[in-house]
């Protein structure tokens, strides 16, 4: 399962499809203080990224995959500028 929703943490693994965006968004809204574990995330549909970036939840672990370097940059820098 690419998206596992636990009590406090949602774990995103591998590739997350657009279908997961809604459940992720609803889950994030259900209670505050929920965080995301992106450690094993390799890629996702833009809708997922939009939820992650737009909701700005706590990220417990940043993605390890180097190809998601830009996501880390966008999440950590206010300028929203990424240089590859």
């Amino acid at each position: 399962m690419p998206l596992v929703l636990k009590k406090k943490v949602a774990v995103l693994r591998g590739h997350c499809e657009i279908e997961d965006a809604e459940s992720l968004f609803n889950w994030l809204q259900e209670s505050s203080g929920r965080s995301l574990n992106l450690k094993e995330l390799t890629s996702a549909h833009t809708a997922i990224y939009q939820v992650i970036l737009g909701f700005q939840p706590t990220i417990s672990i940043m993605p390890e995959d180097t190809s998601l370097f830009w996501l880390k940059e966008l999440l950590t820098h206010d300028s929203k500028e990424v240089w590859l």
Binding site: I18, A21, E22, F25, Q29, S43, H45, T46, A47, Y49, Q50, V51, L53, G54, F55, Q56, S67, W70, L74, S79, K80, E81, V82, W83, L84
Partner: protein
């Protein structure tokens, strides 16, 4: 190449052709007023459309040409042979740029100096006669304009070329202040792009994935994303993202990457050199602010390696603000410290212009500034990078001249080193470009016109040109196309047999599944056959000008013979038409034109008496209308008198006395199409040979078209031909009579009805049917086609069709489906039977006879 660019180039080529035709006409004749106007419009169109693309040098050149033409048009500048030659050269240049654009080998850096040079020559003519003319070339633009412009100015002694900095402005406004320097540190490529990508809100529903589109963009170096914070009301399936990205790749590469997202992005080119120039001040400020002694010393010494190592050290050693960090990173990458060279460029242009050094040498003194400037220029020439990039002998010469004058103020070693640098620069510039091009690739700028010619004649480019011509046009024997058409026709027939097969599989094999499968295959084959058919038909389409272009000569000759003055105005010559159809039309059109010339247009004296222009006018207009084409032949002659027509028709026994009295004017006019009718009392050798208009109508009908005529006495006559655009496939409705299949063209079918035999009434020996209060005469097809009359059933199938004489009902045995067939004309012994307009082959091998309704009804 994008489709838009393709269209632009093709259209502009036509404009270029017509402009150069115009110029040649001017050169061969004395009057040129109207022609200049035409050329102006052509160039204006090219300029306007070129603005859509990032080809500024072309736009600028077209703009300059347009300005000159405007002055010529307003007679502010007097046309001379020289101007004509220059304009032709400009047209050639633009044309060769189009070649490059088509091949995708365009290089703006090479274009710019050429554009500047030609534009200046053009403007020289304007300014010589009219110093007040201003243009966008000469409008003031920011000092931070591109470096090549400044240098180009010195070289070509011209005011600045077009502003190239707008994209940089966009870039710096969208990204943070240090981003430009970060970018400079990241790449050495000149080929940078800036893309503004705003995915549509509903793009997710189209399966688009904007982030991944962005990340996979070719040569992506950096981007900035904008996204809204989500609230509980946000629709997460609506994209609210927008991006600005920058990278190194050709615009064309980006266009092909973004092909599916047209309208959602805008991409433009950024020049690294211009960018470097625009950030020069920031880099200097940052270095000054850093106030690191070793860095400043290194910079002062101009030792690149030293600057590099100091910057690297500084980068790792301390915590700097983003700007400083970016600058250090930029310097650590071995980039040149821009401050002085920029100053040199800027001051160079300012000072040299103010001193008028560019065009005269009467300088009395020179300040330390100038000496410093010259020394900087020496550095410039010395530096490998600039040396290769600029190759400007004129700069070298200028520097040399100045330096020789003021050698006293400089030290001698300086003079010697500058000599060496100049020699090297000159030798690089004079080596043939073929050799230097591979290493210069996109960076070479050749101002020297000799070099330009050398490059444009290089074998590689000529090869490319010929390649383009080969690709563009393919001449094919028409027979081959006809053969292809025949095969496609047979394929259509073979395809039609699949439904029969499906029916058989169901009936005899009892397999519904197999039948279904055949049917689904049929739909695929059907689709492919249809697209094949339309592709082949498209090949056969030619512009109507193929036929039209013979007419001006014809009209001129005939008019002279008859001592009339006639002007033929043609329009819509580019309307496309099936080749065969067009040829079959040629004769009727000639006939109609002859009629207009002979009977329509009056003699000049008579025209003047009637208050008309001495010169008669015949309009030949082709306009596409849905699937057909309308060809109109309109003359402003004497028109046709319906009374006279009626009288003549009566005399010839075409109409009865009763008709003579009751017929309205419109119907009377149509009498002209009656067989054997010629209104001109004297039969001339031009028209009215007894062939008459009925022959014209027959020919048009054979081609599947219609002819209409309207006329107003004393004002003129109009013939309107409505023709199908292709002889393509005919859609016919099949029906059965005496167990045989027949068909009528679907266009003629109004409706199909089944009525009880008792509803058919008999009036005056004629079976009629009343449908919705309308009386419809019936025609028993069985008897009309010569079959035996069988015992009549209770119900009657009636096919109601239209014909020129109104609606008629054909009594048939059974209705069948509509079908697409390729109609073949009747041949051999059958060709005499006008009851049938043609035959077609059915899918099961049977021959389908297509009924000619008009003939059947006429015989009936």
């Amino acid at each position: 190449m994008s489709e838009l660019l393709d269209v632009f180039i093709n259209e502009s080529r036509e404009n270029l052709e017509s402009a150069s035709r115009g110029l040649l006409t001017i050169q061969s004749s004395s009057s040129h007023n109207g022609i200049i106007d035409g050329i102006f419009r052509d160039i204006h169109t090219i300029k306007g459309s070129s603005d859509l693309f990032d080809i500024k040098p072309l736009t600028a050149l077209a703009h300059a040409a347009e300005d000159l033409l405007d002055c010529l048009r307003a007679s502010e500048v007097v046309y001379t042979e020289e101007i004509g030659d220059l304009l032709l050269e400009v047209l050639d240049q633009i044309s060769s740029w189009f070649d490059e654009l088509e091949l995708g080998t365009e290089n703006m850096n090479e274009w710019k100096p050429v554009s500047v040079k030609l534009s200046d020559s053009l403007r020289a003519f304007i300014n010589a006669d009219n110093p007040k003319v201003t243009s966008y070339e000469e409008q003031p633009h920011p000092v931070s304009s591109s470096s090549e412009n400044v240098i180009g100015n010195i070289a070509s002694e011209s005011p600045g070329a077009g502003p190239f900095t707008s994209t940089i402005g966009t870039f710096t406004s969208k990204f943070s202040s240090s981003s430009a320097i970060i970018l400079l540190a990241k790449t050495q490529s000149e080929n940078l792009y800036l893309i503004d990508y705003q995915p549509d809100h509903d793009c997710f529903f189209r399966g688009e994935d904007p982030f991944n589109v962005l990340i996979t963009m070719p040569g992506l170096l950096g981007f900035k994303a904008a996204f809204p914070l989500l609230t509980s009301e946000s629709d997460i399936y609506e994209s609210a993202l927008s991006f600005v990205a920058i990278g190194e790749a050709d615009i064309s590469e980006i266009d092909s990457h973004m092909a599916y997202y047209e309208g959602q992005y805008h991409v433009s080119h950024i020049s690294r050199r211009e960018l470097a120039l625009s950030c020069a001040a920031e880099i200097r400020d940052a270095v000054e602010k850093l106030a690191n002694e070793s860095l400043l010393i290194a910079i002062e010494d101009g030792e690149l390696e030293q600057i590099q190592s100091v910057a690297e050290l500084l980068q790792t050693s301390g915590n700097h603000d983003p700007m400083t960090n970016a600058v250090l990173c930029y310097l650590a990458k071995g980039n040149e410290y821009p401050a002085n060279s920029t100053q040199a460029h800027m001051q160079g242009s300012v000072k040299l212009e103010s001193l008028q050094l560019t065009d005269n040498k009467h300088v009395k003194s020179v300040s330390l500034y100038e000496v410093e400037l010259l020394q900087q220029q020496r550095k410039l020439l010395d530096a490998e990078y600039y040396n290769r990039e600029l190759m400007l002998p004129s700069v070298a010469n200028l520097t040399q001249q100045l330096l020789c004058r003021f050698a006293i103020e400089c030290d001698l070693t300086c003079e010697e080193s500058i000599r060496n640098a100049i020699d090297r620069a000159l030798s690089v510039a004079s080596t043939p470009l073929e050799n230097s091009q591979p290493e210069n690739d996109s960076n070479s700028i050749d101002v020297d016109s000799h070099n330009r010619h050398a490059s444009s004649n290089s074998p590689a480019e000529e090869g490319a040109k010929s390649e383009r011509h080969v690709v563009k046009m393919l001449k094919v024997d028409q027979e081959k196309i006809d053969y292809l058409m025949d095969i496609v026709g047979e394929l259509a027939v073979a395809k039609n047999s699949l439904p029969y097969l499906a029916k058989q599989a169901e009936k005899e094999g009892g397999s519904k599944a197999l039948s279904k499968q055949i049917k689904s295959h049929f739909s695929i084959v059907n689709r492919l056959t249809e697209s094949l058919q339309s592709a082949v038909l498209q090949i056969r389409m030619v512009p109507v000008s193929h036929v039209f272009e013979r007419y001006p000569r014809l009209v001129r000759d005939l008019a002279r013979k008859l001592n009339k003055k006639i002007e033929l105005v043609m329009s819509g010559e580019d309307t496309e038409f099936d080749k065969n159809l067009i040829e079959s039309l040629s004769e009727p059109l000639i006939h109609l034109l002859r009629n207009s010339i002979d009977h329509g247009i009056e003699l000049p004296d008579l025209r003047i008496q009637q208050g008309k222009a001495e010169k008669g006018r015949i309009d030949l207009i082709a306009t596409p209308l849905d699937d057909s084409v309308v060809i109109e032949i309109r003359d402003d002659g004497k028109g046709i008198d319906p009374e006279k027509l009626k009288m003549l028709a009566f005399q010839k026994g075409i109409i009865t006395e009763h008709q003579l009295e009751t017929m309205n004017d419109e119907d009377a006019l149509q009498l002209i199409f009656a067989p054997g009718f010629s209104t001109n009392e004297e039969v001339s050798d031009l028209s009215g040979r007894g062939v008459g208009m009925d022959a014209v109508r027959t020919m048009v009908n054979q081609a599947g078209g219609k002819i209409e005529m309207s006329s107003e006495l004393g004002i003129g006559t109009t013939f309107k031909l409505l023709l199908p655009q292709t002889m393509s496939v005919n859609h016919v409705m099949m029906f059965e009579v005496a167990d045989q299949m027949f068909a009528v063209s679907m266009d003629a079918v109004v409706e199909t009805v089944k009525v009880h035999r008792s509803e058919i009434q008999r009036i005056r020996n004629q079976n009629v049917l009343v449908i919705r209060d309308k009386l419809i005469p019936l025609c028993e097809l069985r008897s009309a086609l010569g079959f035996e009359n069988q015992e009549k059933g209770e119900e009657c199938s009636i096919l109601i069709v239209t014909s020129p004489t109104g609606e008629h009902g054909l009594v048939i045995d059974k209705f069948h489906e509509g079908i697409d067939v390729i109609q073949k004309p009747l041949e051999g012994v059958l060709s005499g039977y006008s009851h049938f307009s043609g035959t077609a082959l059915l899918g099961d091998g049977r021959v389908l006879l297509i009924v000619n309704i008009q003939e059947i009804l006429a015989c009936h």
